[in-house]
């Protein structure tokens, strides 16, 4: 399954993409869709996380802990829920887990 964490009503799902939460540490890709409201978009935007940007997942934590992503020279830590709303097209040719 390459869908969001909760799996219900994932309108933001884009074919061939997986969420940041599902990515493995070290993988990178391009953000194709952020499935969130205006507030979330604005918040993510402040650290340069928006559609079209290339991001690398630095680490995740156990028990649905926060996800650390790198965009250009900025590292941002975000909650698992937020990370599940950000869909990424992986750079390498391994689009499913």
């Amino acid at each position: 399954m390459a869908n969001g964490a909760t799996g219900t009503g994932r309108a933001g799902y884009v074919e061939g993409s997986i969420s940041l939460a599902q990515m493995r540490a070290g993988e990178s890709g391009k953000i194709v869709k952020i499935d969130g409201g205006h507030g979330l978009l604005r918040k993510l935007d402040t650290l340069g996380i928006r559609e079209g940007m290339k991001v690398t997942k630095v680490s995740g934590q156990w028990m649905r802990g926060p996800v650390l992503v790198q965009q250009s020279n900025t590292q941002a830590a975000m909650g698992f829920g937020m990370a599940s709303k950000i869909f990424v097209e992986l750079s390498k040719k391994e689009n499913s887990k």
Binding site: R64, N73, Q75
Partner: protein, 570 residues
């Protein structure tokens, strides 16, 4: 003229501020160190200007209280005011997002390209001339911690102007991208060992052991330095130099009488006992300088190092899952760590939270279950000699209370707590001079806050005893103090004085000759029952009266429950 220092969080605004004004404000390596604005004076040529250090903000549409303050400051400006926009050269793209928003406000701007030295290590080259041409405002490369370029920055403040740069708001990131493409060149390079360590600190397999080791070492080092300073510096000075002097003064004053007891205190077997004499010049000086200062110094040395290195945001990531159970997120570890030094800066740091719920939870569990360094130093001194396991009971109890209160609040308070979202800065080797300066700021602040209140506390203790207030109140409060908590009636005196200074309050327990069980109960109760007056006023300001009132009820009820239980169990 007014000059505002504005920029993203953690780009070094406070360091620039200290450089330009010669003032001393705390700067660290994480976003949200500055939650309040600070004003200072500086000279530009012949003109005097007011420089304002504004809390960092990523955008002009604020998302938390600290950012709101920043945007308010921008609105209050008048014509002729200048904004020094501090940007992180190693993060040009993100920084320029705010720069473009500032340019749109049609204010006079100078851009300071900070961390210029770091760009070289990171293989980044920026054409500052070209950037200046594009933006239409002066752009000056600087390195604030070493001071390089700061003089030129000041010279160019007079060239500040509002830019003619135009763009559509929706296209802002696109514009930023275009500008960065034109002025910046990034060469490929390998990870440095510092970056590898940084990554290891946030991966669960390596990050958890690192966190455990860091915390363990922190406690060990603080204990080692604190004890060492007390044993080899504090006590020798007081016992060998100060005590004989005080004894002479005592005999000059006739060894007794009201004034004598106020200044020197009671002689114990004809000698000065800095723990029990309770005179202004004996116990009043020994508590802040001899007993507490060594630990305060050791604590802030270690904390400042971790702050400047950039470890705290990483610790926040590692503890995020736990903090969510308390209705907070990982960054709540920052106010708690600051609170272990002094609850006042801890309470101020709760401003980084977005919601009132988080601020209430964090401020309440902070003031109940996070003992400040002064209180800890006294508790360690008093209980430590009976064995480590009793200290473990005190710390363990407070930790359990901290967790339980958070869990209960999270369960019963309406609303949800937002997820963590924060920038994790690169590790930076602390610059020793700024570390020393920060340590000095904090020590000076401690001395200024602590000494007057300790002296006042000692004075109040003497007055309370002289006029029999403690005996009087003791009778009234006996049902609670004696029956519930199992303490002698006189212990109520410590609770009264604890509102002024908790370290003095612990000192008041010494002459009572309590059993170790009573000492443990009293220490926990003193930590929990109510904040000292400095913390209390800060809390009222931060939470408002209504929430402070609720918080106070929680404090008193939980103290009675926990103190009562300890009395039954131990």
């Amino acid at each position: 003229m007014k000059i505002l220092l504005m920029g993203n969080p953690n780009v070094g605004k406070s360091v620039v501020f200290n450089r330009l004004t010669g003032a001393n404000v705390i700067a660290s390596n994480y976003a949200g160190t500055t939650v309040e604005f600070t004003k200072g004076k500086m000279r530009i040529g012949a003109e005097r200007a007011e420089l304002i250090d504004v809390p960092g903000t990523y955008t002009l549409q604020p998302t938390c209280k600290a950012e709101e303050i920043a945007v308010e400051m921008l609105k209050e400006r008048t014509d002729g005011d200048v904004i020094i926009n501090v940007v992180e050269s190693t993060n040009l793209e993100r920084s320029l997002n705010l720069t473009l928003q500032l340019l749109k406000c049609k204010v006079s701007v100078v851009v300071a390209l900070n961390f210029w030295d770091e760009t070289k290590h990171k293989g980044i080259s920026i054409d500052d001339k070209k950037l200046e041409e594009i933006l239409g405002v002066p752009c000056v490369p600087i390195c604030a911690v070493t001071g390089e370029g700061v003089k030129r920055l000041v010279e160019r403040v007079k060239d500040a102007k509002s830019s003619a740069y135009e763009y559509k708001d929706k296209e802002r990131w696109h514009e930023v991208g275009n500008i960065v493409d034109k002025v910046q060149n990034v060469a490929h390079r390998h990870h440095t060992w510092l970056e590898k360590l940084a990554d290891a600190s946030v991966k669960p397999l390596t990050g958890i052991p690192i966190a455990v080791v860091v915390m363990f070492l922190a406690f060990k080092i603080i204990g080692f330095i604190g004890e060492g300073l007390i044993g080899y510096v504090g006590e020798p000075i007081f016992e060998n130099l100060w005590a004989p002097l005080m004894l002479k003064l005592s005999s000059i004053m006739g060894s007794e009488g009201f004034v004598h007891d106020l200044v020197i205190g009671q002689l114990i077997d004809g000698e000065i006992d800095f723990g029990q004499s309770f005179g202004l010049l004996t116990t009043g000086l020994f508590v802040p300088l001899g007993a507490v200062l060594p630990y305060v110094f050791a604590f802030y040395l270690v904390l400042s190092f971790l702050e400047d290195l950039g470890y705290l945001p990483r610790l926040a990531v590692m503890v995020d899952t736990i903090m969510h159970r308390l209705g907070l997120h990982g960054f709540a570890i920052v106010p708690m760590m600051l609170g272990l030094g002094c609850n006042v800066p801890g309470a101020l740091a709760t401003r980084i939270f977005e919601t009132r719920r988080e601020r209430f939870i964090s401020a309440t569990i902070l003031s109940i279950a996070v003992p400040c360094a002064a209180l800890q130093a006294m508790i360690v001194g008093l209980i430590g000699e009976h064995g480590l396991r009793y200290l473990a009971v005190v710390y363990g109890t407070l930790f359990v209370v901290w967790i339980l209160l958070g869990v209960i609040f999270n369960r019963f308070l309406k609303g949800e707590s937002p997820e963590i979202f924060l920038e994790v800065p690169p590790y930076r080797i602390p610059y020793m001079r700024s570390l020393g300066k920060k340590l000095w700021i904090r020590i000076r602040w401690f001395l200024k806050e602590a000494i007057p209140f300790v002296l006042l506390g000692v004075l109040v203790v003497n007055l309370l005893y002289t006029f029999g207030v403690i005996q009087f109140v003791g009778k009234f409060t006996a049902p609670v103090v004696t029956r519930v908590l199992g303490l002698p009636q006189e212990a109520v005196g410590a609770l009264i004085v604890g509102f002024l200074r908790k370290d003095v309050a612990v000192g008041m327990l010494i002459p009572l000759g309590l059993t170790i069980k009573q000492l443990v109960v009293a220490s926990v109760v003193l930590a929990m029952y109510f904040p000292c007056v400095a913390t209390f006023t800060t809390l009222v300001r931060e939470l408002g009266f209504a929430d402070m009132f609720k918080s106070a009820i929680v404090m008193i009820v939980s103290t009675l429950v926990v103190g009562g239980l300890l009395n039954l169990i131990l």
